[in-house]
Symmetry: C2
């Protein structure tokens, strides 16, 4: 068997998330169909292992997955074969032969996510699937200060969705940036960490927006982390603003 | 009866164009439903008259329409009422009481369209519905030179789709700009004129791209205009790159 790592982008708007579900259009299913066509429909079929799931409506600029097929293709032939079989809302940017020790999920060192918040007065028809909409003015400096308290290793029990099946809620957040993009009239967050819990970024974004708009004090991040109580962080920002930017395997310069 | 002019944007990706067709989701139908709800379902129903049609997949930044309703609302109340009833892929930017001489189609002096061409190596999943994709390098100066020959009053018979029902193919093109947008890796065309024939802009764009990529000489615009033969301009650029930017009624600064 030959193992391939693929790096790919998708517009999440028309997918019911990454993970296969019956009767739903998912990224994993669409990839699996293409890979099995290339592999000439082996039985059992080839599985596609992603670096992690994304929810319905969440986008990816550089998601990573791996799979094993029974014969070898050049990296470029694999990339082209996949793109010729995939719908236009997924694009394989890179395909690489890797050794069998590479695992898209277990080998990942860190991930970076971006979150885009449109500050226009109204929901822009062209951004409705690609940003969150939050028109209340926000103080960038306050959000940066509050974000500092998320950095480091913490128990994120207060910032995980109730559906999470993680054994531990302890994660390390390495970096958070908060910037205004004046050309787009957006606020853009970026989060890098060794892994994120279910809905963690969307809950942190909603929390930071509450700090930025003055509905919470900057000090609330510390207080709510310590509380270890999901009911303290009330809101979850919508899926539409979230992008998986890159998955770092410790072997490469960061993609974006 | 009270006449309102509305200025609105729409993402054309999920519409079967502007004009009402049975069993299709069209901009006109969606607007008509909202207006008749506000008008409390008069019999016969209120019609919504657009400045002109757009094809399936074509977008609008500032399309204009008018309609008459049996009672009066403030401009702001009308705008809000419409937006509260419309789906998120249409946004009413402005609603204004106008006198009964205003007609969205017949009062229009000129229209401006934009056409976006993405030059990336591959179809970007996030741009597939919002640009055309043309990766062949193009010479902007050659396209500007060729575009000059479209300016003025001409018989555009060579640049109209076969389905056109226009009585005359004579139109005046006032202005064409061709620019590179390096941040987006796009070429952006803008066309202003007193009216455009069915598919005229998409045929002109495809023609200019053939000039820009060296497949036709710059002098071909003159030759093909003179030929008055639709088979000479072979290609039509896709709907996804086209935006109605503004409709000018001679009474206002240009919107964009």
């Amino acid at each position: 068997m030959y193992r391939y790592k693929i790096t790919f982008a998708y517009d999440g708007a028309n997918f019911s998330g990454f993970q296969i579900q019956p009767h739903k259009r998912t990224v994993e299913q669409v990839l699996k169909n293409a890979v099995n066509k290339i592999a000439k429909h082996p039985d059992p079929p080839v599985s596609v292992i992603g670096s992690g799931r994304t929810d319905a409506g969440v986008h990816a600029l550089n998601q990573v997955a791996h799979f094993d097929i029974p014969y070898q293709l050049s990296d470029e032939a694999m990339r082209k074969a996949l793109n010729s079989l995939l719908p236009l809302d997924i694009l394989v940017k890179k395909a690489e032969r890797v050794d069998e020790n590479f695992h898209a999920r277990y080998s990942a060192h860190r991930k970076t996510y971006r979150y885009r918040v449109d500050q226009g007065d109204f929901v822009d028809p062209f951004k409705r699937n690609y940003t969150a909409h939050y028109k209340v003015p926000v103080d960038i400096e306050k959000m940066r200060l509050a974000a500092k308290d998320f950095i480091g290793e913490h128990d994120f029990t207060s910032f995980v969705a109730s559906g999470s099946q993680a054994k531990s809620n302890v994660r390390t957040v390495e970096k958070i940036t908060v910037n205004r993009d004046p050309a787009q009239n957006e606020v853009v967050f970026e989060f890098t960490g060794n892994g994120f819990l279910y809905n963690q970024i969307r809950i942190m974004v909603a929390f930071l927006l509450e700090v930025g708009s003055g509905q919470r004090p900057v000090s609330d991040v510390k207080r709510v982390l310590a509380a270890k109580d999901r009911t303290q962080a009330r809101m979850t920002a919508p899926a539409s603003g979230l992008y998986l930017v890159s998955v770092d395997y410790g072997d490469e310069a960061k993609n974006d």
